[in-house]
Symmetry: C2
Subunit: 349 residues, 2 copies
């Protein structure tokens, strides 16, 4: 670790995740020597504060990354696609929260509790997984090590903040509206989300949503289990923050609930809260503002050999995005893994 | 069918389901010759209208059922436990919406599209299944006949109206409150439900909720598949009406999506709406006020042999309660099945 601290940039600083990245850097006392806030032309000029000091947001350009050590990107997929390679070329390590680079062969996709070691092999761009994937793999990794995963069935209960500020504003506007049957102006959803459930974008009949496909591909890459059997249904519900996931697992070895609880209690980044008889279990509200993944409703699933259920909730803006990105930066710094490895001949980002 | 029509009573007439029963009787033009509205002492005296005429609600007592042909009960479990046997003794057939009688050996548990024939064997009390079970079995029955069910995994997205008027009022009050972290006064839920997800009552660690246990037991009884393998997680979400269910099935024969869609399209009481690429799929809002069960998101589940997914939504107050009860009454009348069969020696209700 550099005793002087690091030059950090946040690209997409004015968005919901960008603002939370700043908050998390401050809370976790990340060694920031200098801070550069970047955003689209539209948002440039905004003033934001970090540790009591004011910073003016600058326009994100190809030249924004000279002398920056680490850039946390949350400016949308097309900005990441365009500017992350320029940053890496300038010697800056990008931790990208968009989906643009996640499945790229030369981009590690990392949840520090699960596969921090993958950070050793980066070429200047590291991808932050999708929110609904992060909390799932934090739970699945220790369970796979203990019992061996055979099949996982997941149904999600995802909050509107997964679609950013616009998602939150759309829900609030529809709840206040005299006619909540009409979608709020500027809503990122395809229909009203107030008092409703909606799916993410689906491109074909009998097809999966983009969110579901992300969950499958990203889980396989992070767990390094390219054939793991995963069935997933991703649903948006009218909560503001905190994604819930109802999970059924089938394992190679028996996974009695006491053992599942013991394994998860000892897992990094997990808090088991499971006294349902006393109404103590994870909820979106209780996850608000927290960095951990909360697990409860552990119980045996006797509808299959070696089956178990659990319910997992995490703050999708924090552990599902901002916190995970900052944890990646922390791991890079702690292990002195900032050096950008050259790409193999013929490969490119 | 009696050309004069039938003497009908509605017990619990002032509740959310009771009021909807009246509306459904009217809409479906059930042959009502005379109507008696019953409720607890507290609600007796209220005036309600049916087909333009005013009716005064009377107090529910053991003597309320003389000369009544059919009584639709939705007055809560303890009232059903207490008064349904008196009604049956007076020669009145009870269709009971509470959970009090559902698992009784001598009480048919009926969803007309699924097991109307079970109505032939009643002894004066017929049970209406739980809302989340009804819409599930309407979908599972034709799929079992076509493909043979091996295992079903369900996660529910249940609206607050499942807990009656008090559930709806609690959500609305919390959404309007300055501090939605505090549960609304009179809320039937264990914690705030606005912007949150909560579970139904759970009595032990590693245990299932009462709602989950109902779904298992009732599905097995209705489908007459006492060993069917069913895994279920029941979740309350902040929608007002319309329950969603994410379902994964594993079948004996292959169940390709085109075949699943064909089978469901031909099933009684089902509307398939499944053009997700055009944002057409079932939602709680679109089910509002409808009597059918809506199914979409049909797709192959390759994580298991012969697997398929679907998403099912229905108006929990109508098909999940009031409409199903009225449909039972319609079947009794149509087939002339009102006669109360004597119980076997030694048996009792």
């Amino acid at each position: 670790m550099n005793s002087q601290g690091y030059s950090i940039a946040v690209a997409g600083a004015t968005g919901l995740v960008g603002r939370t990245m700043l908050k998390v850097l401050e809370e976790r006392n990340f060694p920031v020597q200098s801070l550069t806030l970047l955003a689209s032309k539209r948002s440039a000029g905004t003033t934001m504060t970090f540790k009591g000091a004011a910073y003016k947001v600058q326009e994100l350009t190809h030249d924004s990354f000279n002398n920056i050590d680490i850039a946390l990107f949350s400016a949308g997929g097309s900005a990441s696609k365009e500017y992350a390679p320029s940053a890496a070329k300038a010697g800056c390590v990008v931790v990208d929260n968009s989906s643009a680079w996640r499945m790229h062969e030369y981009v590690p996709l990392v949840v520090p509790e699960v596969n921090a070691d993958a950070l050793q092999e980066h070429h200047g761009i590291i991808a932050n997984p999708n929110c609904s994937t992060i909390q799932l793999v934090v739970a699945l990794k220790p369970l796979h090590e203990a019992f061996g995963l055979k099949r996982v069935v997941v149904s999600t209960y995802q909050s509107v903040s997964g679609a950013g500020n616009k998602g939150v504003e759309a829900l609030e506007a529809e709840l206040q509206s005299d006619n909540p049957n009409v979608k709020a102006e500027g809503s990122p959803f395809v229909m009203p989300v107030a008092y409703n459930t909606v799916f993410h974008t689906i491109n074909e009949k009998y097809g999966f949503s983009e969110e579901e496909t992300k969950m499958l591909n990203e889980t396989r890459k992070i767990l390094r289990l390219p054939d793991v059997k995963l069935a997933m249904t991703c649903v948006r519900v009218p909560t503001i923050g905190g994604h819930g996931e109802s999970v059924n697992i089938e394992t190679v070895k028996p996974a009695p609930p006491q053992e599942v609880e013991r394994v998860l209690s000892q897992a990094d980044g997990v808090i088991v809260c499971d006294e349902p008889q006393n109404n103590i279990y994870p909820t979106p509200r209780m996850s608000d503002g927290r960095d951990e993944v909360f697990i409860g409703r552990i119980r045996p699933d006797t509808s299959v050999e070696n089956g178990a259920y659990f319910w997992v909730v995490s703050d999708n803006i924090r552990k599902g995005a901002a916190t995970n990105a900052v944890q990646i930066a922390e791991a890079l710094v702690k292990h002195d893994w900032l050096a950008i490895k050259p790409l193999p001949a013929g490969a490119s980002l």
